[in-house]
């Protein structure tokens, strides 16, 4: 039995806003019948104010699909369209106090239905670029398609590379056989034989340009430190841009670094993981404990920021392990 939160169960047993909406002016049908989930979201938008006045759903889906759909309709009712479009699948999952990793795709489906319904209201065609593969890493909910694409885009060769770039395999490590199979398949396309003993590129002492220009950790002036943070983020950006996203440095406040996730990264289901990766990279390069937080949370800083200047090398062991696979 899935470990569903009480909130998921409550929304499943008492789903809100079920059924067709007779005077809907935006309808989004998304899903994958093969995998057993499909969702129709109907919205009624006030053309004057562009506010969603009503939202209902119909679904062919499991408990979490019904709960995610119900949560989505509750979240978006009363929101202006532009606000509603900012709702991420993580917001839907958070609203339900979390979903099992195998079920995160239900919340992704909710977000896509919303995009499709809004596109339908605006009279534009909605194209989905989302392709879903078999779930490989249960710790971080990473599927085969995501791993394949990341291997191709970054010329990855080892399980450690994959863990570094996607987080897959960075938790319990039980999926390493599965990741090796994906690597074998993708590398074979390029005529390369997967070598289980190859050295990970993340472990190689790659002389990064940043390291050459600025001295490692220690007594940096504030200006030097910010400059260095900027350089590190700049070195990550090409990878983000390959996926149509980007990241900007907004503010450095002690050990809290505020960034803006833009483009495809904004509202992406993987944004939290991407930020986790940036944070890990910054900690490694700076040699101090820092926290990366999306800039939209700047007005509400974390309730318990770590005291400034908390020493280097204090990153929690779990986080280091996760990043190193």
């Amino acid at each position: 039995m899935w470990d569903y939160s009480e909130k998921v169960k409550e929304h499943f047993y008492n789903p809100r806003n079920v059924g067709a909406l007779p005077d809907a002016n935006g309808v989004g049908d998304v899903g994958s019948l093969n995998c057993g989930d499909a969702l129709r979201l109907s919205i009624k938008v006030n053309p004057e104010t562009e506010v969603i006045e009503a939202a209902t759903f119909q679904t062919f889906g499991c408990g979490s699909a019904i709960a995610s759909s119900s949560a989505l309709t509750e979240i978006i009712k009363g929101l202006p369209l532009d606000e509603a479009l900012k709702v991420s699948n993580q917001d839907i999952a958070d609203y339900l106090d979390g979903l099992p990793p195998e079920k995160m795709h239900c919340s992704v489906m909710g977000r896509e239905a919303l995009q499709a319904a809004v596109a339908n209201y605006r009279g534009v065609e909605w194209k989905d670029d989302h392709e879903e593969g078999a779930l490989i890493c249960k710790c971080f909910a990473v599927d085969a398609v995501m791993i394949e694409e990341t291997i191709r885009a970054n010329n990855l060769r080892t399980v450690q590379d994959v863990a570094h770039y996607t987080k897959a395999g960075g938790g319990c490590a039980a999926c390493h056989e599965g990741i090796e199979e994906v690597l074998t398949r993708v590398l074979a396309e390029q005529g390369i034989t997967f070598d289980p003993e190859a050295v990970s590129k993340v472990d190689q002492p790659e002389p990064l340009p940043i390291a050459a220009t600025i001295k490692p950790a220690g007594k940096l002036t504030t200006v030097q430190r910010i400059h260095r943070i900027e350089q590190i983020i700049d070195s990550i950006r090409p990878n983000l841009r390959m996926d149509g996203g980007d990241c900007e440095l907004v503010e450095v406040d002690g050990n809290i670094i505020y960034v803006n996730m833009v483009g495809a990264c904004a509202g992406c289901g993987m944004a939290a993981m991407t930020i986790g990766g940036i944070q890990q990279r910054l900690m490694e390069e700076l040699g101090e404990f820092i926290r990366v937080i999306p800039a939209e949370h700047m007005q509400h800083p974390h309730p318990n920021p770590l005291p400034r200047g908390e020493g280097a090398q204090r990153a929690p062991v779990e986080q280091r392990r996760a990043a190193h696979g």
């Binding site: 789903p15 059924g19 499909a38």
Partner: protein, 402 residues
Amino acid sequence: MADIYLDNNATTACDAKVVEAMLPYFLEQFGNPSSMHSFGSGVGRALSKARKQVQALLGAEHDSEIIFTSCGTESDNTAILSALKCFPNRKEIITTAVEHPAVLALCTQLEKEGYTIHRLAVDGKGRLDLDEYKKLLTPNVAIVSVMWANNETGTLFPVLEMAELAHAADIQFHTDAVQAVGKVPIDLKNSNIDMLSVSGHKLHAPKGIGVLYLKRGVRFRPLFRGGHQERGRRAGTENAASVIGLGQACELAQEHIECENVQVKALRDRLEQGILAQVPNCFVTGDADHRLPNTCNIAFEYIEGESILMLLNKQGIAASSGSACTSGSLEPSHVMRAMGIPYTAAHGTIRFSLSRYNTQAEIDRVVAAVPPIIADLRKMSPYWGENGPVEEPGKAFAPVYA
């Protein structure tokens, strides 16, 4: 009201008599049966008795043909890997598309290692084509492994006939009989079955105990090497208490085999007919005329199985489903797909599997509970209109990225 357990193909409750038989072997008679003292010898005698009890249920000619293992999966893996070791030049395996993962996942792995796997197809009712099978019986085949009864639909396969054909072609024949043992009369001494897998927890014995039947004289290579236990064919200290429990369970199964085929079957039919009479757009999957007496698998169209299970569970009713969502995979059950059941029905399949402990009152409660659950879920379905499926459901609702 007590909860109703209709998921006996997944696992069964231990019979109280089984537990009773096991208990002395934890605190009092804890000895190692291989030991040369009185702590061990009593356990050794109890194991011999258990072996004879299993032999009797399977109709095996000799008690030395019974090898105790840890589970059905171990028995299946042992049988297939043994044949590959015995016949290193034979690189093909014949099985079916609807086997349990204990066989199928192993075969998929062997395929990656270079073996050719023939997965016999089934028709819409889950039946095999024996002509297709006969054509595949060549000297390249190391072993045939075909389940006696399918775990999802209960459909029975003609394993006796298939074993005979394999025998004539000089090919080893193994059957995964974990669902059939105790529900179908089995007489191995008068069959050509070389190896057969049993799982204790499917017949009211505990989990973690299984049997591999190995016909005398059949070439065999053990999976585990170590001590001399099980005559060197499965090393490792005997799981004594569980072996004794399984022996007791086999004796009880033999006593109740008629009950399974009369009373349990009658309850199953009552459940099935009760549901079919009240719920529109549902049907029985598998070969209804040739199946286990305790199993009923119904596909409810246009809704999803996990939702049905959750609502049944809320009313204290336990069953299982072939939907993708219950397993966390992206595809519905391979058994439903092999039978060509449309996705809109395959995701809504529910398996009810009964045992001799179920009562008519329980079945009547389930028959009353199911129709409103199905109706409520269909109200949410984009494929369902006021009183039935929408016209041309495939066109009315065709989501992006199907």
